[in-house]
Subunit: 461 residues, 4 copies
Amino acid sequence: MPKTLIKQGVIVTAADTYQGDILVEDERIVQIGQNLRPERDAEVIDATGCYVFPGAIDEHTHMAMPFNGTVTADWNTETVAAAIGGTTTIVDFAKQEKGDTLAHTAEVWKRRADGRTAIDYSLHVAITDLTDAVLDEIAHIVQSGVATLKLFMAYKGETMVDDATLLTTLQVARDVGALVMVHAENGDAIDILQRQLIAAGKTEPKYHAVSRPIEIEAEATRRAIALAKVADAPIFIVHVSGLDSLEEVRRARAAGQPVFAETCPQYLLLDESYLVLPDFEGAKYVCSPPLRAALNQEKLWHGLANGTLQAIGTDHCSFNFAQQKHLGAHDFRKIPNGVGGIENWIQLLYTYGVKTGRISLNQLVELTSTNPAKYMGLFPKKGTIAVGTDADIVVFDPAVEQTITAANQKQNSDYSVYEGFRIDGAPRHVLLRGKVIVTEGAYVGDLRDGQFVHANPYGAA
Amino acid sequence: MPKTLIKQGVIVTAADTYQGDILVEDERIVQIGQNLRPERDAEVIDATGCYVFPGAIDEHTHMAMPFNGTVTADWNTETVAAAIGGTTTIVDFAKQEKGDTLAHTAEVWKRRADGRTAIDYSLHVAITDLTDAVLDEIAHIVQSGVATLKLFMAYKGETMVDDATLLTTLQVARDVGALVMVHAENGDAIDILQRQLIAAGKTEPKYHAVSRPIEIEAEATRRAIALAKVADAPIFIVHVSGLDSLEEVRRARAAGQPVFAETCPQYLLLDESYLVLPDFEGAKYVCSPPLRAALNQEKLWHGLANGTLQAIGTDHCSFNFAQQKHLGAHDFRKIPNGVGGIENWIQLLYTYGVKTGRISLNQLVELTSTNPAKYMGLFPKKGTIAVGTDADIVVFDPAVEQTITAANQKQNSDYSVYEGFRIDGAPRHVLLRGKVIVTEGAYVGDLRDGQFVHANPYGAA
Amino acid sequence: MPKTLIKQGVIVTAADTYQGDILVEDERIVQIGQNLRPERDAEVIDATGCYVFPGAIDEHTHMAMPFNGTVTADWNTETVAAAIGGTTTIVDFAKQEKGDTLAHTAEVWKRRADGRTAIDYSLHVAITDLTDAVLDEIAHIVQSGVATLKLFMAYKGETMVDDATLLTTLQVARDVGALVMVHAENGDAIDILQRQLIAAGKTEPKYHAVSRPIEIEAEATRRAIALAKVADAPIFIVHVSGLDSLEEVRRARAAGQPVFAETCPQYLLLDESYLVLPDFEGAKYVCSPPLRAALNQEKLWHGLANGTLQAIGTDHCSFNFAQQKHLGAHDFRKIPNGVGGIENWIQLLYTYGVKTGRISLNQLVELTSTNPAKYMGLFPKKGTIAVGTDADIVVFDPAVEQTITAANQKQNSDYSVYEGFRIDGAPRHVLLRGKVIVTEGAYVGDLRDGQFVHANPYGAA
Amino acid sequence: MPKTLIKQGVIVTAADTYQGDILVEDERIVQIGQNLRPERDAEVIDATGCYVFPGAIDEHTHMAMPFNGTVTADWNTETVAAAIGGTTTIVDFAKQEKGDTLAHTAEVWKRRADGRTAIDYSLHVAITDLTDAVLDEIAHIVQSGVATLKLFMAYKGETMVDDATLLTTLQVARDVGALVMVHAENGDAIDILQRQLIAAGKTEPKYHAVSRPIEIEAEATRRAIALAKVADAPIFIVHVSGLDSLEEVRRARAAGQPVFAETCPQYLLLDESYLVLPDFEGAKYVCSPPLRAALNQEKLWHGLANGTLQAIGTDHCSFNFAQQKHLGAHDFRKIPNGVGGIENWIQLLYTYGVKTGRISLNQLVELTSTNPAKYMGLFPKKGTIAVGTDADIVVFDPAVEQTITAANQKQNSDYSVYEGFRIDGAPRHVLLRGKVIVTEGAYVGDLRDGQFVHANPYGAA
Ligand SMILES: [Zn+2]
Ligand SMILES: [Zn+2]
Ligand SMILES: [Zn+2]
Ligand SMILES: [Zn+2]
Ligand SMILES: [Zn+2]
Ligand SMILES: [Zn+2]
Ligand SMILES: [Zn+2]
Ligand SMILES: [Zn+2]
């Protein structure tokens, strides 16, 4: 591969902001300097006036995932959208089928991804059926490069696990260096509330949120944290949606417990008022946990700024409106849960986070790249700009101004939850392990570019 | 029945402390005055130098209850012990057998009690098998005078209910005026920890406590509170054993939620150090939740003093050491859970609570009589000294000094967890609905004295 | 004096609610019973359908107090208004003039009151000039029946004391059984903010509130509590106006510190939106601390219900609008601080507290009579209905419906901050030490009825 | 200056840990790469097996500062000690004399430092006399490169300012980009307590701590934060010594307020038990705030790990024991307040923080270099390893094992508070703006090496 020299950009890491040139060779960053002279064979990218970020790492995606009888948008479109938006690695949730092994689960997922992904990927495995055999398998799956386990405390009768499973998994995970991630909502309570709502004829999208009040998210968060304390294991809470759950994370961290947590752009930027849009449009915004009252947004931003939340993931779980979301036209329980967002999340966070002063540029990088890499076992190969790391690089032009519209998006969906949102800045060039896959905002890569990334056990870095 | 005149005592209610004479007629207090002249036919009790308390109400007892293949101490002995100690009403937990109706459960319990109780009693019904039929029955059982429901979040495979049951019960309870009480510990987690401890050969009594850390009590407390919030129902947390759970109660109450809670004398006066006594003596102190680190005691006293905790109950659940506790000689899981304490609780609380300044005399009455009566639907018939109320009266001589020893106790057990505790004050006379059942500290009543007391729905008073 | 028999009312104390008859003789309650037969010479008051409350005790009033060059409404009118509204005792703040002794301060205040008060009164002494001589005097003033000291952390250059004074006073108070009450706002900060606002031409009433943000009330509350901790002394925080301060009280109480606090009806029922009324009407609502954002109201009600706040006082500090409030027409700093409210406070709290379910009837009595009596050293002479206590009794008819209007009020002011508020219930009869001073809602007493009440040292009861 | 090439070290920044070579030229880092080939004229430093840290920045020192009639250890010795320990920049507190200007204060301080400092320095100015002229001067002092202001809430009669001064300064600072740092203890309370202790004959060193309980530190912290909120200004709390103060910082940050705080090694590693050492040895450990109960240490470590505390400074304020500390032989108030610690702080934090797993290597760099640089306006010139930054570099050999003893120290004092502490790791080489000032652990620099560093206004970076 030819060498590449990225010149005159303002390099931003989780800690630093400085002007410098970056020399890329053999997929990696080999040199950073001032006024590096381009070698003969080097391609030169002029980054003047641009920020140079490490490629974003979306630690929370659901590609081509079966859900409620349908399936989320596929790798081939969504990873291209991701690339254009500055994301160079995702960590996708490989969901165990009942009775399946973890190894086979990961294998199935890799088969779906390989040859169909524009960017690198790593995997979490979502355990839904914890037999003794599966318990024994955890050590092996970690050794095979899948170091994060996901458990659902919700979706009763489907993926939900009981507290015994959660505790046992935490104990085993602690011993083998796996990090347990939990979807924290009380599935029992949701199930009861949903039956009652439907029985009462309350079938519209907004009742999805009514059936999942924040109290039962906060409760489950507290519960998971308590079980982790008992297991003496670290834990990672996904998609914290509002203040009540955030408080549980804060309390545990104040007490010195290794509790980590993410939130998602939709909880920072959208709120429950979207759920009552007419003509079933509320269904577009149905995800779990649901969108909350607007006052939670500022609390989550504070949590990002003050270190209570360590990461942002998109929970990209994309469906189309015309067919898929309409599966729940007469019963909100049948609306596929999830929203898309991987295409523009960095721009949204830059616009509404950095430019408003809520978080710093360094925090943007930390929250969307460095920390995801660290917690998911990908650091320092991924997640920063330093010599020796993979040359996953985004040249981000802050001067671009755009408005999000589904009409233009690369995400394979007929709508965007951020329709009409103004965004500042855009990736001009994106490199994946040194290869330019986006130039002047256009995708120029190949679906064979992306590779599986072996994750290291928690605490190994 | 002849009239009785109690003269010159210092009458203490939850609010007041004043000198006065009390005239009792036809089971009730009919007059309170200064220098009431004894009518011709009135028996006169001189209460000079004594406090006159309303009879204590122990809202939390387990009489003749099957547990782990044995049975707790019986009504005939324990209620006499209670009477001598100043308790004139208990609210006992009638435990539903799987498949049984609530009505039959209560009936079984009444059959055990009637004719064998020295004092009045009311009942909670502990639901362990919530079928649709049982759900429908809740309204009826409330109308029949059993207004409080108990649910266990622990004891997996036995009495433990899942969150769906808890939530549903809370909803129904709210509608029919029942108050739900919960034993808050995470049964799933305990089950796992216990299996692991036993598998590791850790069978001694102290491991009972290890298998039930306070984190999982606090977690369950938080969970029950969250479900009550969702159900818009009041909730009563039994036997709060330490700071972590107390904090959950405080947070909910600070937010305005109708959450109520009790603690027990053993959590105020004993601590985990007893569990490691040699010669299996630790088993004497095995109860659930277990005794905690000593520092929790002062926090619980603060909780009583500042209104976070509203009541004290004994959780009297008495076994003997020689046979019953020894069932667990080789496996702590088989140690019957529970300790006795109904005989001296008022004296202990007077000595270690009132005389140390931790709570006031009025608070003693409020916590052990007035509030239990109010929350359990017995007020104002029970729980205070006022005209019109049942003449359940304790003439308490603060000058008596004693030391607790099993050798002298009326409780039917071969040990006391308070062995060697010095206590100040003692009931000199006790009246049950006007009848003197204790005179000069000696029981002079009859086991047919006690009656079932119809409890009113929550909020009806 | 003739005997009086109050028949068939529902007697309400801080603990109890029951039907009974009350016999009054020689200023005191001598008997409470069921169906007491009227003696020959007894006057009979029929209380059928009415509640019988102990007379309310307003622990926080400012009668005839010089302030900013004017003076608050006087004893002769305000105590009549108080009586009609069910208040039978006030505890007024006797404010030390610079250089004056505490004894003389109290004497001046008594001179103003004696012969001009319809109801009983006790005194706090507000220390504004703590010399060594004054420090020595504290023990004496307590012995003379003034057991509560007030210190202002605000009003710089006037009544404000520094932290050294506050700490020293707390230490001495602890030793002699005085209870220190503080007005907690940071006077230094207010002074700066006020100068800046005036300099910026911001002179309207609403800027009074801007100059006293809740942060600096909460800060001062925390500070006073810390100094009390250091001094090992109890402390009483007056007029908690919102959540931030309430939290400070809660935190200290949770830690077991003897911290007590009151709020006032205006903080429960009014909010900052009144301050922007046109035509200078905002000035009517100017008091310190200022009215807060509406969301604080519910938090304060929760604080009353859950025991964080122990009492309610009116902070009755009444001025007229036409002249007195207009002193600040061009400078909010010159608006006399304070609002009236003693006439209808019990009805307002009954209507908006009890009838809405926010507090119970018993809590109403506890918060407005029993606890004020206890904390201010007047219990059990005042503050409850029990034999032996002063016969300060209110026969309260809950069926009356009225609307507050200045046109009808007895308070000597040309406006009411509660203008247009609907109120349920009204005192039908009021007795002061057995003498009927209100009959059928009309004042029938004499300004010589009221007497000074000797307060006992803190903790003496 | 010749080029320098640092080869094969593990470079550690606040975000990254990676192997690389660093090329230094003209005082700055010009290139970082893998296997950089040494140019002909470059000096090569072999960093194999070593960490390469950015030079530590001690944001909190007191060099040659007059205090209580004596003076702290001087620049010429202490900066050499600092250099040897890996510190390449200090930010010293220039203390205004009453009546002096800020400009002159800074000038005096520079005169003391220039030509007598082995390392770079920047200045805070400690305002002790805020006249209107001084207030006006703040904008100018910021422009002159002194961007941080220090205010003392303690030391009554000496450097203590009142709340009016603090609030006003915060307002001005906000407008001109200065960051206000506060020493948060209640000086009024301390003054009272000290007088009382001395009057009671309690003159020994341990009473210094008794006179400064943590309550009054926490109170002052809360107060400063409230005033900053009112001023809408950021604030930096120096030397948080224990849990109570930490909680105040956490609460404010949770609410989104820009509050920052540091702790010091002595609060992490020492505790109050040292204060009772015999033979007046307790005096060695007298500093303000005082050492606290040991349980606070772990809470502070948690605060560092979870982001509540952003920085560590030494508060190096060194006296000798034989003469200076003995000034207080008969009166603890006369013991000069302060301890030394700049020589070994990085090693102590590495040993007891990083190696124990309490903080990560990256956090060590963040807390002792990057964040101090950011908050003190020195970033990115100082505080990280990146191209373009000053070549302040520490080659740290983790394999060295030492024991601290005063006998060997470079600090000019006859004792060390860390006497006998085992430490792992040591700086092998230290570069100051590219010049090697420490080689193989030995100081090889010159006291003319150090320069004043211009600090940028807060928020400018
Ligand atoms: Zn999820
Ligand atoms: Zn997801
Ligand atoms: Zn239980
Ligand atoms: Zn029980
Ligand atoms: Zn006031
Ligand atoms: Zn007032
Ligand atoms: Zn300091
Ligand atoms: Zn200092």
